[in-house]
Symmetry: C2
Subunit: 143 residues, 2 copies
DNA sequence: TATTGTTATACTCTATAACTATA
DNA sequence: TATAGTTATAGAGTATAACAATA
């Protein structure tokens, strides 16, 4: 069958993201974590005390959609909240959260290394800067 | 805020795909077409008479999920079916479908060109082969 | 026996609007 | 007046299971 699509960078981008995303989700399943969970845990670890709104802006996840994600992580005992003032709440990893994230990080690191290995060496070093140019180019999210 | 994520190719891939996908969807909205619609129209045009199952395998869209997409395209008068035998049905573009696809193609082509322009010249030619290595590498879909 | 087309259904992700309370 | 947190809800996209009819 003729393929008029895969020479489009945008199409290849979506297919690659879908395929690799499904693969990563499968690898994270034994930890009962989703990709958004791991992203959030990593971001909280790097920025302890940040608010849900600020984290959401960084990840491009809307405030309203942060609620069920954080609820799941809190119910799992991985994230704790502590009031900053009467309005804002800072987030931190619990001890269990640190442990779980360490496991997740091993999976992520080996997964990312495998991704790069799949890319022919001549193109490998260009992938990340090219991708970051495509989405970092845009303006800052509002949320 | 510290960003421990965007140095991961897989993360950058998902963010880039999401951002560019949203942008393309917005540009296609005036035509009342979705990305999957355009992909399918292009594939049918390149392979007239192909069955829904075969098209779905190529696009990694499952048989069951082809039904509502094709129904929408048929209701819009863009795609026509003709029986191959008692079981299979071949798909073709109607005249309206050809016209609509030509409009969509103009949008797609300029969009794809803009995407490449956002990538620094040093990395530009590496993007497509790197992406195709990431998802074409996998085995053929079964569906 | 494998494949095509289809129906029904559930789950996840994302978007929008609205509300309360506080800075 | 803007922001944080929340609730409720709707719309896509995707996945699974099952079925009838035909190759």
């Amino acid at each position: 069958m003729k393929d008029p699509l895969s020479h489009y960078p945008g199409y290849a981008l979506r297919r690659a993201a879908f395929a690799t995303g499904a693969e990563l989700s499968a690898r994270l399943e034994p930890l009962e974590l989703r990709q958004s969970d791991v992203s959030l845990l990593m971001l909280i670890q790097a920025n302890p005390g940040a608010t849900a709104s600020a984290l959401g802006r960084k990840l491009d996840i809307q405030r309203a959609n942060m609620v069920p994600i954080l609820k799941r992580l809190e119910d799992a005992g991985l994230v704790a909240r502590e009031a900053i003032d009467g309005k804002s709440v800072g987030l931190e990893l619990t001890g269990d959260g640190q442990t779980k994230l360490a496991e997740a990080r091993r999976i992520i690191e080996s997964f990312e290394a495998e991704l790069l290995e799949r890319v022919p060496a001549a193109h490998r070093q260009h992938l990340l800067p090219a991708l970051n140019a495509l989405w970092n180019a845009g303006a800052e999210p509002t949320n």
